[in-house]
Symmetry: C2
Subunit: 668 residues, 2 copies
């Protein structure tokens, strides 16, 4: 029975419904970055004709005082207002509303006055309301209000003048400073916003294997080698340098080159088969260097305005210290042996999964948190989490919140290549960013549908996509042809459609494209199982179509991302009509429309495609009317467009991407 709760509503006549945004009735926070505005909507109703006044209340969750911003009606009993979030961490918001007796009365008086039926009684009623505000007011306001209340009922003054004084803007403003909120209704839940630093929303990731970073054939790369690579990665324009696991690699059932079941003695093994007698998740593979050298790498990376992301993969090689120290953290078979990973009938005997149903789950959770704590202590603040969907969802929610308590600046990228609802649930549960299905959305129509799902409605409130054209696990069929245009387009789409993106290099910029076998997305001679010799340190300032490397192209794209704030968020994405299905055209705009970027790409990587595309500056909030000049910021070439529908042509053998901005000066 709810009777008691309902009785407590008593004199509160306003009801508040359908507050937006909220995720699962406030069970999960929405996400924003520092400096963002939060737009809040609510249905606010009361009986009868009285007017309503409503505010959004918001605060840092740490018990600080509530602040308020007015909500204004936007039609159909819906109200809207905004507040800003400046600090990292949790914020709370809710809605409060009340009958505005003063405005209701003033509106009625205005109508009566217009109909010449206003009376002394009307003014006496208003005087009581104003006197009420006086009683709530402080200082001179109280005296002023008291005086107005007296004057508007003064028999010495003409009725019209008194009505005018009662309805004066200043009277209204003063009364509204001291509203009667004694019967205000508060929405029945406090909702939460989690506020991240900007990199949660705008980041460009470069993945490399440190062991292949030496630049010298036959020599195992080290952290010091990675330090040597930093200027190159920085010149490419990336801001997160992501390293696959750096821990000791198991030797039991170690995989050989190209995932061979039996490794030769010289095979280095997969970095994801974590743990040996040399240590586990808080140790460093000795051939990479020392903890001190790792700390130096972290520090030097920061000096380039980049930061290191570590790969946290919670699985253990049979040689991991935990296997001996904590066999109870694994699934034990009837004979006491530990169960290896399997997906029947396939076996993965080089890996032991953790058992999240162990009775010792609390110790296990703490140990796993300890891994993050350890690397945070070394200066790391960005983590790429391997296969989070194969570990308990409640664990991640607890872990991320626990880390965020002391380190709200920590970021977590979920490598959640899994079914859509699991992917979204990990994001709701705290992951800052997520891998996506981008790699497998390979036509303009598929990308329109997918981005529409990601950037509209509920997912946009908690899910931050991170688009990757390739990873060490995924060499998509589109890239296997080795066509430069495919690499260029997939990179441009990742970088321009999604404010977070990444690539696995140097495989990508060198257009490595040979799969291990047909119909397989694995690279031939994958770095997962062997060391590769790469040529590093390409000249990023070379001509954009330098034959051997995409480095100049990538560097140009990243520079365009940095200098155009429209590309720092996904909220301003809009697709544009075009009469050729091989072309994809979209724009991105900042919330206040002071930066708009318009992109066209040709997704036919073999043939020139052309068509008419609709780009109306007023439709994206810009003032320009045709004719106007657009400039391709990749090539510097300007075009005068004399209509909203304009011709574009993209030759994959030249450059399959246009990135336009509008020239501000007048066209004559």
């Amino acid at each position: 029975m709810q009777s008691e709760r309902l009785r407590q509503a008593g004199r509160k006549r306003v009801v508040i419904d359908d507050v937006w945004p909220q995720i699962d009735a406030g069970r999960f926070p929405i996400k924003r970055i520092q400096g963002d505005k939060v737009d809040v909507f609510a249905d606010i109703l009361a009986d009868g004709h009285d007017l309503i006044r409503a505010v959004v209340r918001y605060r840092r969750q740490t018990g600080r005082a509530w602040k308020e911003a007015l909500l204004r009606p936007v039609g159909n009993d819906r109200y809207h207002g905004t507040f800003s979030v400046a600090d990292l961490g949790y914020h709370e918001y809710t809605v409060e509303a009340w009958i505005d007796h003063f405005e209701s009365w003033a509106t009625g008086l205005r109508k009566k006055h217009d109909a010449a039926v206003a009376s002394d009684m009307d003014l006496r009623i208003g005087a009581e309301l104003i006197a009420g505000a006086a009683a709530r007011a402080k200082g001179t306001d109280a005296a002023t209000l008291k005086q107005i209340a007296e004057e508007i009922v003064s028999p010495k003054v003409n009725l019209d003048l008194r009505v005018a004084q009662a309805l004066d803007e200043k009277t209204e403003a003063l009364v509204q400073k001291y509203p009667d909120r004694s019967h205000a209704t508060r929405y029945d839940r406090d909702l939460r916003v989690w506020v991240d630093r900007k990199r949660a929303e705008f980041s460009a990731w470069y993945e490399l294997f440190p062991r292949s970073a030496s630049g010298t054939s036959g020599r195992h790369g080290t952290f010091r080698d990675v330090i040597e690579r930093l200027p190159y990665v920085a010149r490419l324009g990336f801001d997160v340098l992501y390293l696959p696991p750096i821990h000791p690699i198991g030797h039991t059932k170690r995989k050989g080159a190209n995932n061979a079941l039996n490794a030769s003695p010289t095979d280095p093994g997969s970095p994801w088969a974590i743990g040996s007698e040399q240590g586990g998740h808080d140790s460093i593979h000795p051939e990479l260097g020392t903890l001190e050298e790792f700390r130096e790498l972290v520090e030097r990376t920061r000096s380039y305005q980049m930061e290191i992301a570590l790969d946290i993969a919670f699985q253990c090689s049979p040689d991991h210290p935990w296997v001996k120290e904590h066999p109870e953290w694994f699934v034990q078979r009837p004979d006491g042996s530990i169960q290896f990973a399997e997906n029947p009938p396939k076996k993965y005997e080089d890996i032991f999964p953790l058992n999240f149903e162990t009775p010792q789950w609390e110790a296990l959770w703490q140990a796993l948190k300890g891994v993050f704590d350890h690397w945070i202590a070394q200066g790391v603040r960005v983590f790429r989490v391997d296969n989070p969907h194969t570990k308990s969802f409640p664990f991640w929610e607890w872990l991320i919140e626990a880390i965020h308590q002391d380190h709200p600046e920590a970021l977590f990228l979920a490598e959640a290549f899994t079914r859509p609802k699991r992917m979204y649930r990990l994001a709701k549960g705290g992951f800052s960013q997520s891998y996506t299905y981008f790699t497998w959305r390979n036509s303009p129509a598929e990308l329109r549908d997918y981005l529409t799902e990601l950037t509209n409605g509920e997912p946009a409130e908690f899910f931050r996509p991170n688009f990757w054209p390739n990873t060490p696990d995924i060499l998509h069929e589109d890239l296997q042809t080795g066509r430069r245009a495919a690499f260029q387009v997939r990179l441009a789409l990742a970088a321009l459609l999604s404010s977070n993106y990444g690539m696995y290099g140097p495989a990508f910029e060198l257009m490595d494209h040979v799969p291990r076998e047909k119909k397989n997305e694995e690279y031939l001679n994958s770095e997962k199982y062997q060391i590769r010799d790469w040529t590093w340190d390409w000249d990023v300032d070379a001509k954009i179509n330098d034959a051997a490397s995409l480095a100049p192209f990538i560097s140009r794209i990243n520079a365009i991302r940095r200098s155009n704030p429209a590309l720092h968020k996904n909220s301003g994405l809009k697709f544009h009509n075009v009469d050729n299905r091989a072309l994809l055209c979209f724009s991105k705009a900042t919330p206040d429309r002071d930066n708009v970027v318009f992109v066209c790409v040709n997704m036919d990587y073999e043939h020139t495609q052309s068509g008419f595309v609709e780009f109306s500056p007023p439709a994206v909030g810009l003032p320009q009317q045709p004719p106007f000049v657009v400039r391709d910021v990749l090539t510097g070439v300007a075009y005068t467009w004399r209509e909203y529908w304009n011709f574009v042509e993209l030759d994959p053998k030249k450059l399959p991407v246009h990135i336009f901005t509008l020239e501000l000066h007048e066209v004559h």
Copy 2:
């Protein structure tokens, strides 16, 4: 911080999201009637590859034991199951799910066996799971399970045979009787269903003014006269007889005929100006009869399988006893006088609204509840509530729940002619049925849109429309022409589109159609302000197009409603394509498709309209293939349809409505 709550999740690996149906996170119940099935959906996820088992738990709210029904996966991590509600009142439901280790193991074993890699170890693991079930089992099941656990690891038996026994259906069924739910996850809220009696969903209302029921010009009608009218109303086929307020009528500022501001001494006044020195909301207007006569009317109405609905209008004439006894329940003006109703600059001086912000709100709430209690004590169980949106929303929610505690059979129809969100909120807050915008949805396209909104998605869970072609307040323009076809079509649409409908008679069946003035929906000589002489007791068995009254048509429509269960709910509504925009074609089907009715109406009330309409029996779940025979149950005429698209022609001067059912016998 949620850490503590999250830590309690501990070993619970399953998470449950997006349970449907639920209204505002369970803040409001969904609604059903006795005997309904409730379809429950949920997203249920766990990490990894393990299989999940899930149930919906449900019970009467009165602390009874939970029952359970299995939820089955329907794709994309969504699960579905059903339960039935037999009793009136609140029921609760929620979802529980757990990792099904036995099924996960059995599925793996099956795959391994198919790949010829099953091992003794696999069976030993399974034996532990089966032994676990044995430990939870009772009686002979425990012994049987123990025996199976032993047999499948017996070294004396061939591995294939042991695998076969482990995977046997009987083994599975027995193990599933005793699942390991120690780490089961329960959805974090209990949701509610409010269950009404069938009349909440299927009802036909006839509104009449008792004072016009005498059948004798110049004599004020009485409850005894209404008793004389019961056989007629019953033969028309209605089951709710709704009376405007029956209380003493105020004389101060009484309105005269046609809403004149000054009444003549013989004007009877509006029944909605409630209260005089003869009493208020719990009294009877003396000219109508006594309380005993009213009770007799209630009883006699029941003997016709009908029931009385009373109009509860919470407003007071200046002569109402409450005005003197409880001036504090009204808005008092600075001079101590009571504020009449107004919508500035208009005044309604014959009415005092109640003040739901009074400090004495508790006494007021109790007094208003007392009005319902009083009439419930006289046998009334159906209430039509006048303008509920001008009284406090929290009050209604409290009131209806309080009445329902002792009288779950009580029904409340909201006369909520107001904005959509207020209309919906009253329904969420407990009103059993609501007036709608039906009267102002006057084209096939508008009706399709409106019914789609009402019968799909959230509103269908809590909002039960009651469609009225006319009311004493609303004589729609479409009826003002007096065209018989307009009356027939509007009544048929109300009765067939909505399982709840009503009409105001005899104005409707006699096609009263003259408005007070042009562009006005008020009746000329409205019964609200004067007594009307009606001819009652028409022969309902006359020819369907009897010249003077629609009684035979209405009686036929109501009989078709009663004998076709498809028309008892709105959930089976489907619109059908037709190539003429003046025609509206729809079907209604029972949940199990054992009754399907197909309707075509011509909404051009002047001209014959014809067209091809698509009606595919398989598309609505019927087995018939063309050719098939449809019979118009209004006229008895049968048609053989040889395609899915068939020709219909409707002449407004004959009969503008087809109501088809399918003949079950074969066509040759």
